[in-house]
Amino acid sequence: MQWKSATLCGVMSLLPGVHLPAVYAKQYVSVEEVKNIFFHGELLQKVAISIPPHIQTLIRKESGVRQPLKGTDVWRSAEGSWLIVDEVVGKHEMITYAVGIDSAGAIKGIEVMQYNESYGGQIRERKWLAQFTGKKVDNRLRLNEDILNITGATLSAKHVTDGVRRVMILYREYLKGYQG
């Protein structure tokens, strides 16, 4: 389902006396900054991929994440490293995050790029994000198993963990053997 908050805000603004506040959106780090953080100047090229429906189904089944994986923001290096920017459902709005994967299929790093919630921001803490580094698709990548929860930010921690897992499934099923 595509959410159309702007449309809703527009419609509600037409109602007499309704003055909606500006949409709050906090971008902490840009794609270019993420490239530098993960790949230190390595040249990355954007790749236009189209995830086949059967892989989408597999990703949804294995990750449990219902929000479709768009796969529109994907970059690859000549050495076979990947950068995927994805989003998952937050408490009120979407959480945008980036996953860097090295040529051996291990997670180079995770960055929370945009987080619009008013609490649960602890998921941006280095210590929590560092738990993902070095993990591969054969790891569980599940909250309260190999990824520790953040009490008070459980929903955000769970959704980002599930999101990283689905990105790694995308890597296993599609990106790893990508010949485009």
């Binding site: 908050s5 609490y119 929860n149």
Partner: protein, 305 residues
Amino acid sequence: MGLREKKFRGVLLNSALIGASLFSMNTHAGEGYFGWVYGLDLQPMGKYEFEQRLQLTRGQETGTFDFWQGRTELEYGLSNDVQIAGYLNTYSINAARNYTNPDICDQGISPCTGGYGVQGLQHHADTFHQTSFDGVSIEGIWRITNPVTSPIGVGLYLEPTIGNLKNAIESRLILQSNFLDDRLQLVGNLVYEIEHLKFDVEPIEETVLDFVGGVTYRILPKLNIGMEYRFHNDYDGFSFGNQTQKAHFIGPNIHYAEKNWWLTAAMRTQIGGECWDPGTAECSMGKVWDGHGRNEYILKFGMPF
């Protein structure tokens, strides 16, 4: 608008304004997605939330029956799975010729004035108005399992109340399951409450056993809509030996959350009910009255900090 009504609305407005001026504008969890159903979204440890509720029970058999209830609440996360809260409760009753049951209208004057909060001596008065500070409640919720990480979230709830209208102890077993990336919530509460009703000359003791349940879905960022249902049962005394009434209510809810506040509005309509002795005086037209009405409305405003 009568003087009492003005006074009552002034109390509510003041309490909301005091709350707004006292508390800073950061925010956390603990949102009330439903009007009357309690979920397991609690305040994180060390965080507060100010909440203001305004409820109207409107319309009985005939005439006028408006029962306003105001509740000003402060919640606090004692731990990430235990939340405590305190309430200040106010009410306003405006009843006029709203009963026809001969057990109440017993001197040939029908319709007469009755319902929750109306003393027996007032049954033959044209109108009854009362606006007052009611009392206080405290509340504790223990979330045993979290629906975000468990298939079924389970919680226990306890709320003692001391008031002018009644003293009561309310307990709830809260069950919640989330689906579709936690955008869809199914929540049910089993409610057990013992009440000592004090507004009349002779106090009444009764037991309430309710099931309230609902569904809410986030159709857009920040915006949920849903439905909720109540199956209500009253029993005479502090046991289940003598049921006096049961009723069903259902209605929609809507919830909107901004970064620093949230708002929930809900209504439910009584779709039917029946009574048994000694509660038959509170029934007519296939519905139950006393503290219930044809329709109930609630507005809840929360401001975490």
